[in-house]
Amino acid sequence: MGSRASTLLREEEIEEIKKETGFSHSQITRLYSRFTSLDKGENGTLSREDFQRIPELAINPLGDRIINAFFPEGEDQVNFRGFMRTLAHFRPIEDNEKNKNPPTSEPLNSRTNKLLFAFRLYDLDRDDKISRDELLQVLRMMVGVNISDEQLGSIADRTIQEADTNGDNSISFSEFIKVLEKVDVEQKMSIRFLH
């Protein structure tokens, strides 16, 4: 008689996720338990509706963008691996030093990957550029009806002006990184997972 949760999650899978994301064994089982509690359909995947059932997420102005970050292009369901991969972006960076095996490729929670996550929140059509239009849309999500179109437009213009160095009137990922080079991304885009 085993537990309901870990009989569905095999040891090999846990090991693979551990290597890929850097989470510890107990963190993975706890997050799996959370995953299954969100999975109302009990089919091993989460849909967008499953996320929207979380009230604190539903009232978050960028809730839909965050939910979108979990779903790969064109897909409507995310499995546990995908769930963990996205969550891994928010692992604190210091934890990497405690790892006995250094990762072979760039860890999911590196500074660059955290910035990429934030970049993708703005980049609605996933073309690796933040256009003026996309910036406006995201701003509109954050302010609701409280700021006029003109004011929002001028905010967008100013932001692009400050960041755009190659004059294509949009912000590329490298321009994005440059603007945020002095920001303590590691701390601001991290969640303190216990254990």
Partner: protein, 397 residues
């Protein structure tokens, strides 16, 4: 077993502390976003937007995906160590043969011995109750009827308590509700009613059901005044308020029992109280009920189990152990509106029972959260962008 459970009751139930993430004490939206900006360099402009502002929302969003305050209230509480019931077996893997054997013995005791006894008691109790209340119903209204009705009700509830093996510790009985007010309590299960009514006579409020439950409801109202509504009447708030007010005004009638949360939650928190009962203006007698989940989880997850299936699960647990605290009566203060009063009562109940006091509505179990909350977040953020000098903001913000 009763004595042992009573001794365990004395230590206040430890809240389950095994969270997934460590959350810092929440700062306001303004403070957090300013904190983000301090670390970013940038030109100062009159309308301040920074690309780092999304960090705040994305981190908050991620935190709520990993662990939020609301969704976990609608499923049974996780236990720190296993209590030999498969239903509480969430994260524990196979440990030893001894444990399995113990579980097997436990299974036999619970299903083979305890449950049949309890079912017999329950059936006997219900039949007796139906017969006696009908009998008392024939008597003319008066002191004798009221006295007998109380006795019959208490007997009925006594049977129920034995049938479900509920072990109750009542605290502060000097604060027991009196005839001129409304008793409010946190709601975890229909058994709350039995637990409170075992110690005193209340008038219930609720919707008239069909089936066995409806039969019992109709029997109850024959011998003592209860407030049952038809489905259509429930929506009419004025009608509800009127009937409650009339009942309270009549000092010979028992106190009304109301569960302002409106739905069952899992006894780790108290969710938003509906203001209806607090608008009436009478004395409120708050009661805090806390179950010990180690002997059997009492929470009724109505989306997972029907009532009968739930009762059978209760009868096959070890026992249901709980503590009831009668809090001193509260009245609405000068200048306090119904919502503030309701929140004050809620805070008192949560504090006594060691529960988390939440502002979230219990109806979120089934319904979506209102757009207004998101709009509030957007408004707060807009304030940060514009600075507080914007012309749109008026005193109500």
């Amino acid at each position: 077993m009763e004595l042992r459970a009573k001794q365990n009751n004395l230590q206040l139930y430890k809240p389950y502390t095994n969270g997934i993430i460590a959350k810092e004490p929440p700062l306001s939206l303004q403070q957090e976003i300013q904190g983000l900006r301090d670390s970013a360099s940038g030109l100062c402009s009159e309308v301040e937007f920074r690309m780092t502002d999304v960090f705040y929302f994305s981190r908050k969003g991620m935190e709520s995906i990993v662990d939020d305050e609301v969704t976990k209230r609608f499923s049974a509480q996780e236990l720190e160590s296993w209590n030999l019931l498969t239903r509480s077996n969430y994260n524990f893997s196979h440990i030893s043969l001894t444990l399995s054997v113990l579980w097997g013995i436990g299974l036999f005791i619970r299903y083979g011995v305890l449950m049949p006894v309890r079912v017999t008691l329950a059936v006997t109790g219900i039949i007796l109750f139906l017969i006696l209340t009908t009998f008392v119903g024939f008597l003319p209204n008066g002191r004798l009827k009221a006295y007998l009705s109380d006795k019959v009700h208490l007997m009925g509830y006594g049977f129920c308590v034995r049938a479900l093996s509920v072990i109750i510790t009542y605290h502060h009985r000097e604060n027991k509700p009196k005839n001129d007010g409304i008793c409010v309590a946190n709601h975890t299960t229909p058994i709350d009613v039995i637990i409170l009514a075992n110690d005193g006579c209340y008038s219930m409020v609720g919707q008239l059901h069909g089936g066995l439950f409806g039969l019992i409801q109709r029997a109850m109202v024959r011998s003592s005044p209860h407030i049952w509504f038809d489905r259509a009447e429930v929506k009419d708030r004025h009608l509800v308020a009127k009937r409650l007010t009339d009942h309270v005004a009549d000092k010979t009638k028992q106190p009304i029992l109301v569960f302002p949360e409106g739905t069952c939650v899992n006894n780790t928190s108290v969710m938003m109280f509906r203001k209806g009962s607090f608008e009436i203006g009478c004395t409120i007698y708050p009661v805090s009920i806390k179950y010990d989940p180690r002997f059997g989880d009492a929470f009724w997850n109505s989306s997972k189990f029907g009532l009968v299936s739930y009762l059978l699960r209760m009868m096959s647990s070890w026992a249901i152990v709980c503590s009831v605290w009668y809090l001193p009566p509260m009245n609405r203060k000068e200048g306090e509106d119904a919502v503030q009063f309701a929140n004050r009562v809620k805070a008192a109940i949560a504090a006594k029972g060691g529960l988390v006091d939440l502002i979230w509505d219990g109806s979120l179990k089934r319904a979506k959260v209102k757009e207004a909350f998101k709009e509030e977040q957007q408004k707060l953020y807009s304030k940060v962008l514009l600075g507080n000098s914007g012309p749109k903001w008026n005193q109500t913000d």
